[in-house]
Symmetry: C2
Subunit: 750 residues, 2 copies
């Protein structure tokens, strides 16, 4: 087998090794030299290899055109039942049969990666799927929130979580223990790497289980890189493998049979033996799978190459896809991932990008005629117990019992709640506020901590800046990071495509990529109105410090504010003695480039010079008048102010403060209502004498322009206000009266 | 057949007619009553109808589960060969076989609609396609530009245009004449309505030609609405049809056979006869197809219902899709289109929305192993001649000869030009300006006149406002419309998804939807840098008046500017005597809400009061200093100014002025270079004494922030400037020297 790709200087030793391998190839494995003759362009001669064509075309004419030439040859004469390659395409599983998929996923980046896989799987699937996710705490936290809010019908009936508290290096071996950790009730499972993309219905892959002979328990696609040929570099000593070896990015496992043949013992023994002479490699489970298969080839059912098209470097994948009528699964197994250099990479990238940017909301498709209730089997999953528990382990596997011990499989029911469905059904399309009420009931997909994040160390007076934004405010982030050195929790309202643009934006910015203490939470766009308070609540819920500074994205805080707030919180004993909201006075500049005041004195000077104003002095003074700027000028100590109608200051409060009222969507009254809640719950309003934050100008948001243009919008906001006050009275009785009275003289904002 | 959907008051007459129809159904057409018994939920009893299941599952197990019960029954005992319904799925056409698709498309809205159809077709297709588009001038202009810039491989080899100069009412009959107007070389074609969406590979539909018996020449899916049953309302008298009739949203035509059986004579005779008793209906061609089929049922090959799932109101489609394992083609044939009320509409809408928002760039996928050269046949298409030409026509068809006479089929070669490919290949990835050069070579998909547009009447001194924008400036449009009552040509840089948001934005705005003289041209996003000058050139090329005002989207012109400019152009005899660029002095406000000056006097007052400034007075004075604002204050007459380095005024010039230099992408120097071009071509720079335009503040664009943050960006811009000047010298020799000298003291723009 000659190496392809860029020519590399091979040492004499390597050359000999190569010849040796070739000889082994011809005589020991009985390779068909015809198949290995390479054309100038490095592609195999078609004649020799296509004993039968490569892969079924969808829909097939009833005949599989055959399995990959790549996997047939090295196994020829090995007693492996690969006649199946030319068998008729087995019938697909019944419309509503539940298919089981296991994925190992750990950390922030894999949690992003896996979503593209899941989207591609859901796009083509026509069966209910049950995901079994082997995760660490990070991935679980992210994915649990995501799937709960995604609410994809017939995904699940539920998702099972197989947590693992160990550092992710060991995730590389998790696939090996799946027969042990997956519930006994499960007989078969498809195991996937997070870096694969589906280009077809996973049921077609599931159907290949039908090809398994009595002895075969594992389905794999042959390796399409030269790794196991050991000719990649001088002294390259891969683990033992059959021919080119097999890739574990896509695995079909017959769980029952694996348990029967004593899989666990088998791979541990092999691994232990090999480890006497070899050192562990980065490929982890794949090495062990291959070593076992080399000893027990009869366990293997080779799968057609299109089911794991490996786009690593120097790949032979082209031999596969150039003959295939269509692709099934693309595997981005190069370290460069989708940036891999492959002369057709752009073609494959398009599949990946299709689902990367695909609006996940569109995958909330029901499956007609399939029951949405979890089948009984799903219940078994819950209480599953695990074989091999507590069994003594060789050194390498010290972690196994712990791991298995840590495996109570937890389940999360998905599917829209009946309450929600009822609420949506009860909406009256003729109601002038229909759009508002519908938006308020919309459950947005939420991807918390979209980027790697280091939670702040627990500190009693620490404070997190909380804000929300959409794409048109991205350029505020760098400045914000310079002004606020502390932790931040930011909710971003984005489409799936924009989420990727945001990712690139952060990667391109040294300032942003340097910050590990900023948590970005992506809330996916849905519906016509901006769900400002739902966004604030997401960011608020994810703040990890005892206090939060509830800000807006267009504001830059004083450079000193972070330290000053923590000092004030400590000094005022907010935690203990008093229940207060600290007011940070707000100002605005009408210039979008100006020199930010480094002190209160400087700020006052700018104010007097007329190049700064108190916030919305021209358009909406009552929003901040109660802060009493005149008093603030002179103030040396925090001073208390009284609530007044339409007051909407920026405040610092304990993390467990009341949430924002999600009924206020779009523009108007969203902060005002929150301050009312604080006041009715007896939060003192304390203005901090040295604190300030400055609003930078920007074009009005679409929602504001819409508000200004539409009287219906204003009327509806009025209606929502009144409902808010009714609820308030219900909850707080007489205490809420003053707000109702205040409402009697309504001013319409801005 | 009982009416379903909302109960309607039926007059006694209608009831009788109904009973009559039922009798005809039972005895004449031999209906199986079993099939017509309706369950409480209005769905047909499954047992009775599913003699064989409904439709193949993809990939099928080799057996079609059967054709629609809907179409089997009415045709039973009619000698129609519909056994095919249960035949094995015929093999798909060979990988590289060219499939022919004909679509009738006229006007602005259909031109938008058809793109979603084409996207869905391209997403699933694996064969080269040849589109035959029957268009009016509007659709052709739009689609020609779109497909040329889309550059989808293996679409075509080329697209054929069958222009029709007649008002679109007649497009309703175009499908009937296709056998006549399509080239004799073509033997079969799939005809599609613009309002269908594919959910599968069109090759599967093409494969159904194999089911046609010797006599069958037309493939259609049965009608799924009650239209032809004539029970929709009192005295509803539809055209004659076989049972429920057949829907012409998806048609398979065997062209040769149709010509042999004398199709043209056949349908004309039938139509003429029916027109004696019936009046033409809105369904147009569908009525005639059905009337012909009623007389000659043997011509028809019924297709499985999944190939034309009709989501009109009171549709029986649910009987189809609830049994189907998967869908093939969804037909939005309700007047409400995708807003149709159907209890599963959301499910189907998701398919539609998938492709509505799908990034069309991702469909630039090559077909492996298929030649990209146009097969010889494609050539025949060019010189095609048309049968029936000049033949005497009955009154209804007076237009036919004209139409046919107007049918020189034109062809447009697609596929990336070799020059472009060479240029792209020659780019050096290590070059610091690689990103810039790549962006400059990017061919963006362009959808001109995205919305309905009324070209301005030809007027010798008329002027079009030309500008470009992206999503974050949409809210400028309403104000701009108020300030500029004349024609505008605006290029929008959007993703496919944003284009739809933009559409909704315009529909929701009374101001915008009232304007027919604003042409919006969508340029689809691709690449990391903002192609500002390419956008300006698109808008400029689409301006239809003799003069253009080259503005930017953040500027609001004086209310009087449009009239004033036309008067000035006339007075200064720009057309004839002098070659000049009229300078419109630029100012800025730093407030994003202020009262716009209604006159020069008011403007000067604001200027003195310090609430207005000359444009970029603080950051980049040299950009406009040469306008000489001091002189402008006093000026009564237009005055000439001299070019100076970095001058970038807003000017009015003839439409055929030099284009913007596309090498300047992102931010910086894009307008400056254009003014240099004007100056070197001896355009006088004349400042108009009463003209002014005012810049409104906005957050800096991402490109600007990037420019400010990255020195590499600045260095690269410097390099591009120098190359620009070298080109200038090459083209203008000594005349270009002064610009090079001016460059020796470069200021980096703000």
């Amino acid at each position: 087998m000659l190496p392809r790709g860029r020519p590399r200087a091979l040492g004499a030793a390597a050359l000999l090794l190569l010849l040796l391998l070739l000889l082994i190839g011809f005589f020991l494995l009985g390779w068909d030299p015809e198949c290995e003759r390479l054309e100038p362009d490095g592609r195999a001669g078609d004649l020799g290899c296509s004993h039968c064509p490569l892969t079924p075309r969808v829909p097939s004419d009833g005949r599989l055109r055959g399995a990959s030439a790549l996997h047939e040859d090295p196994l020829a004469g090995h007693g492996v039942h690969n006649h199946s390659a030319c068998d008729p395409q087995p019938p697909l599983p019944p419309k509503c049969e539940l298919l089981h998929v296991a994925i190992v996923c750990a950390g922030y980046n894999s949690s992003r990666e896996v979503i593209t896989l899941v989207k591609s799987m859901l796009f083509y699937r026509r069966n209910p799927l049950h995901l079994h996710l082997v995760t660490d705490a990070v991935a679980r936290n992210i994915l649990e929130t995501l799937f709960r809010t995604w609410m994809v019908p017939a995904l699940g009936p539920q998702i099972s979580w197989i947590p693992n508290k160990h550092y992710s290096g060991l995730y590389g071996l998790m696939k090996l223990v799946l027969p042990g950790v997956l519930p006994p009730g499960m007989t078969r499972v498809i195991v996937l790497d997070t870096d694969v993309t589906f280009a077809s219905d996973i049921a077609e892959l599931w159907a290949l289980f039908a090809h398994f002979s009595d002895k075969q328990v594992i389905g794999l696609v042959e390796n399409q890189s030269d790794w196991y040929l050991g000719n990649l570099w001088k002294n390259h000593r891969p683990w033992p493998a059959l021919g080119r070896g097999f890739n574990t990015g896509v695995i079909l496992l017959l769980l029952d049979q694996l348990r029967q043949v004593g899989w666990e013992q088998m791979w541990k023994l092999t691994a232990r033996r090999e480890l006497l002479t070899l050192t562990a490699t980065s490929l982890a489970d794949q090495d062990i799978f291959n070593a076992v298969i080399k000893e027990r080839p009869e366990l293997l059912q080779p799968l057609p190459c299109v089911w794991n098209l490996q786009l690593s470097d120097h790949t032979l994948a082209e031999r596969c896809y150039s003959e295939a009528a269509d692709l099934k699964v693309i595997h981005w197994n190069s370290p460069k991932k989708v940036r891999v250099k492959n002369k057709h990479a752009e073609f494959f990238r398009n599949f990946y990008l299709t689902f990367l940017g695909y609006d996940g909301n569109l995958l909330r498709r029901e499956l007609f005629g399939c029951p949405s209730q979890p089948p009984p089997e799903a219940e078994q999953v819950k209480g599953a117990t695990f074989p091999g528990l507590g069994e003594p382990c060789p050194l390498l596997f010290w972690w196994l019992p712990v791991l298995l011990g840590a495996c109570p499989v937890l389940a999360l029911a998905l599917s829209r709640t009946p309450q929600l469905q009822r609420a949506l059904a009860q909406l009256d399309e003729e109601d002038a506020c229909f759009e508002f009420r519908q938006q308020r009931l919309t459950v947005h997909r939420v991807h918390i901590t979209f980027l790697p994040h280091k939670p702040p160390p627990p500190r009693p007076h620490d404070v997190t800046l909380v804000a929300q934004l959409s794409m048109d405010r991205l350029q505020m982030l760098e400045a914000l990071c310079r002004h606020w050195p502390g932790p931040m929790s930011l909710a971003l309202y984005l489409t799936d495509t924009e989420a990727q643009q945001f990712l690139r934006f952060v990667e391109a910015s040294p300032v942003l990529s340097a910050r590990q203490d900023v948590a970005y939470h992506v809330v996916y766009r849905e519906g016509p109105l901006y769900p400002v308070n739902q966004l604030r609540n997401v960011a608020l819920a994810q703040a990890l410090t005892p206090y939060v500074f509830l800000s807006d994205i267009d504001f830059l805080p004083a450079y000193s504010l972070y330290d000053y707030l923590r000092a004030s919180i400590e000094q005022l004993e907010l935690g203990g003695r008093r229940k207060a909201a600290l007011v940070v006075p707000a100002f605005e500049t009408l210039r979008y480039r100006f020199s930010f005041p480094s002190s209160k004195a400087e700020l006052l000077a700018l104010l007097d010079a007329g190049s700064l104003y108190t916030f919305r002095y021209h358009e909406w003074p009552q929003g901040h008048a109660p802060t009493d700027y005149a008093r603030w000028r002179e103030a040396q100590e925090p001073y208390r102010v009284q609530w007044a109608a339409d007051y909407e200051p920026y405040v610092v409060v304990p993390r467990d403060c009341p949430r924002y009222d999600p009924r206020f969507v779009g523009f108007g009254w969203n902060k005002v209502a929150h301050i009312v809640e604080l006041d009715v719950q007896d939060f003192e309003l304390l203005v901090l004498p040295e604190a300030f934050t400055i609003h930078l100008p920007h074009a009005p948001s679409l929602d504001i322009s819409r508000f200004r243009s539409s009287s219906a919008y204003r009327d509806c906001l009025q209606a929502l206000k009144e409902e808010f006050h009714q609820d308030l009275s219900r909850r707080y009785g007489a205490a809420a009266l003053k707000y109702l009275t205040a409402l009697q003289q309504p001013h319409s904002p801005a």
